[in-house]
Amino acid sequence: MPMILLQAEELHIAYGSTDILRDISFQVRTGDYLGIVGPNGSGKSTLIRAMLGLVPATSGAVRLLGQPLAQFSDWQKIGYLPQRLSFANPHFPATVEEIVRLGFIDKHGPKRRIDASEARHLEEILTRMGIIDLRQQLIGHLSGGQQQRALLARALVGRPALLLLDEPTTALDPETREDFYAIVKELNRELGTAIVLITHDTWNIGQYAKRFVYLDKTVIFDGTFAEFCASAEMTSFFGEHSNKTIYHHHGEHC
């Protein structure tokens, strides 16, 4: 039985009297690839932030790797790629390699020194992400796609068991987006890394994710993409011509 990496139990989040998320319960196990979609304001990003303790839950519980969130400390096992970063200064004095190295974590936070095997792993990740030649470039000087690859490398370098991606392809062109999804799929297939990916890009995530959650302040649907395509929720979300749209994009019906 695959290990439960992430568990939400009756999670409820409210700002004042406004419900943002209510009665959210689901699990993510080793090897899962969970795509979460939903309309704007459906609480997708709040959900992923709540899973990481970045947003306090009004009630309910989150467990990471079996531990309650408040006691969780094994952050090396969790990779996170936020929707947008707070740094905006193109002169932020960090090279790509320095940013990726921040992903080596011990109980005090990012490691001050890495050993020889970690240095080799760093090289492998930079190569795999196709940014080995950019390692000495300032992070702010890269294109949006290159920055996403660097940040994905940061999230992966600690060999996480669970990778949480919050709308990672929003700023990418279609070609780079496909490339990004292919890398994530490969990680899931080859290393068994569990993926939780929030996106508006339903067509792509439908192709790649093994499991599909449709969120609108609460979990409306939880199943496979094929089941979702056959469900009533799909028509309400995408409109009555949704099947034709998917055919147009991917050459196949749901």
């Binding site: 970045l54 740094f87 004095p93 960090a94 320095e98 005090h108 936070g109």
Partner: protein
């Protein structure tokens, strides 16, 4: 007067030693403040220090002890600023603006109650290297040791927080504690720097050398070292130029650091083509 003769004066020696340390402190802390977009916290702390110094002078504390008496007040103010800036209901720069205005307003009222602006208060407002004592130098050296140790041990964590606070939190960093340490060390630095550059100008010393270094630095450690060099160079050249040209020391230090920033910006632009 021959240049080396200047160095024979005790007050110049104390100013140069304390100035070197303050240049180092301001640069090491300022780089994180600038990258965290906390630059204005230095300004808020300086203005709060003005109110604190005015209160201490009103209480009749002798000039020798003004710095030490102001420290606890400014540390409390620093925690208040941090609390306000992290409030969801008040934007960070608005919170700092409120505290800055309050600090100045209290300072003006308290100065008026103590008989108006006197020489002591002006010395703290605009700096006066003649009042830097041996104890000030020792206290600044102790703080410099603490700051260098904190940056050496936790600099990577501060750097991660500056890059992205959410990513830092999900790396196991206690970002709240990191922010408190950064702001408290900055508050101590502001108080100790007020005799050198003055309350009104100290925030510039927290901003200009780091910003100059950011024009040229590639990588975190080189930029940190460059900022430290810019901070020390600004202060030393400012002190010596002020003495040679008979200019106010605080203002001359800030003009020196601004000129250094202009040079760095031009070199940076030239390097980028």
């Amino acid at each position: 007067m021959p240049f080396f003769e200047i160095l024979g004066y005790g007050f110049i020696q104390r100013a140069l030693i304390a100035g070197t340390l303050i240049g180092l402190l301001c640069a090491l802390l300022g780089i994180f403040l600038v990258l965290r977009r906390f630059s204005l916290i230095g300004d808020g702390l300086a203005h709060f220090t003005f109110g604190s110094v005015a209160l201490v002078l009103l209480c009749g504390v002798s000039a020798t002890w003004v710095t030490y008496a102001a420290i606890p007040l400014v540390l409390i103010g620093a925690l208040g600023i941090l609390k306000l800036t992290s409030s969801a209901r008040i934007h960070g720069d608005t919170a700092i603006g409120i505290v800055s205005a309050l600090g100045i307003a209290l300072g003006v009222i308290l100065a008026s109650l103590s008989g108006g602006y006197n020489v002591d208060l002006f010395s703290y407002l605009f700096g006066n290297i003649l009042i830097i004592s041996r104890n000030d130098v020792l206290l600044t050296a102790a703080l410099a040791i603490v700051v260098v140790a904190v940056v050496a041990l936790r600099g990577r964590a501060f750097f991660a927080v500056a890059f992205d606070e959410d990513l830092a939190r999900t790396s196991g960093i206690n970002t709240g504690r990191a922010n408190i340490i950064l702001v408290l060390l900055t508050a101590l630095t502001v108080v100790l720097a007020m005799k050198l550059v003055g309350i009104m100008l100290v925030s510039a010393l927290l901003i200009l050398p780091p910003v100059a270094a950011l024009q040229l630095g590639r990588g975190f450690l080189p930029t940190l070292l460059l900022a430290a060099a810019c901070g020390i160079l600004s202060v030393l050249s400012g002190i010596l130029a002020s003495f040679a040209l008979n200019l106010p020391t605080g203002g001359t230090i800030i003009v020196a650091s601004f000129l250094l920033f202009v040079v760095a910006a031009l070199v940076g632009r030239w390097r980028r083509g």
